[in-house]
Homo-oligomer: 211 residues x 2
């Protein structure tokens, strides 16, 4: 089994710009990546490949391999899958709420494919037992795409239902979820910078006076 | 065991007004209520109390009791809990993605209290084994409130992690989740009225031309 993490640092997460500068966002995505890799290792997945491009430097001290591919996300992943025999656990780098227990539960499922839906029809994690019999199609409603591809390929599918794994960190209000349910480097980073402001509606973040 | 569903129909869900008129929203909250009650019955919870006020007519054909209380949500629920000996499963009426399997898993937990977090620090479901030893505090970050109350009362707590149960239907983009992951009356209603528009970002809804 191997894990694959698509990763982009350069000008990442532009939708977080109301809350964080470009430099802060680039620091922050690296911290989220560290938390994801940490949970994978804790779950016993030692072989971790980070799929990225030349100008998105992955830190040297991460126990992970760097796979460079300048193509777009789908092409790059499908190229990778076509050369793989082992089961592949594809997880996005912006899921710092993931814990080892989630990963262990997902990889223990007997189905051919496990899909973890994100908000709005995304695919936050996909676990593929036989990568030679699957291809990915991110963007658009990738959750439906992946359900359909599994059906065409006659793969059994399990939909793993998790709030924490549905929470990819894209927008300022997602940072609240890190404060409430997070751990590790990303939580420390957010707690240092923001306060939680609560009213009748959903909790929001506010920038600390001393930030 | 009993279930308690706080319910408000009159001018409900104002944040859905970009997508639905007041009359439509009032119809829609009733359909969501029907789906929630249906899943409770399917999970074997026969005794369902709907907590509401005089002007929020609960349909007569629902197999549920109506409990009228004109006080605010917290006061009304705490008054209810103070007179109850049975375990209470408090579920919000805007959770049409709930299925019987979720409910069965929650009520099978051995802990004193099970909390199902919503987005932004909400409490979407709380299951309380001994209602005489608990009180609720909705609004604000009720998830943290309820964790703290459990700690004060020395209750063991389980946090039930579910994307589907974290998805209370408050804003137009939440309707997409009903299209993707829903069932029952509420899904039928949404599918008749909206199309899904997908691009690189999260899926959005658009009003059907023939709506």
């Amino acid at each position: 089994m191997k894990a694959l993490i698509p990763y982009k640092k350069k000008n990442a997460k532009s939708r977080l710009s109301p809350a964080l500068t470009q430099e802060e966002r680039e620091d922050f995505v690296e911290l989220m990546l560290r938390d994801v890799v940490g949970s994978l290792h804790e779950a016993g997945i030692d072989e971790v490949d980070i799929l990225t491009t030349l100008d998105n430097g992955v830190p040297n001290d991460l126990q992970a391999n760097v796979v460079l591919d300048e193509n777009d996300l789908n092409e790059a992943i499908n190229e990778y899958l076509s050369h793989e025999q082992k089961s592949i656990f594809i997880i996005m780098a912006d899921l710092p709420l993931v814990r080892a227990i989630h990963i262990k539960e997902i990889i223990a499922r007997p189905e051919d494919v496990v899909i973890v839906p994100g908000k709005g029809g995304g695919t936050n994690i996909i676990f593929i037992k036989d990568p030679s019999n699957f291809h990915v199609k991110y963007y658009g409603s990738s959750f439906l795409n992946h359900c359909n591809i599994a059906k065409e390929r006659k793969c059994s599918v399990y939909i793993y239902d998790s709030f924490l794994l549905s929470t990819d960190i894209d927008e300022p209000h997602d940072l609240v979820e890190i404060m409430l349910h997070g751990h590790g480097n990303s939580r420390e980073y957010v707690m240092e910078r923001f306060d939680m402001e609560t009213g009748k509606a959903r909790a929001r973040i506010t920038v600390s006076d001393d930030a």
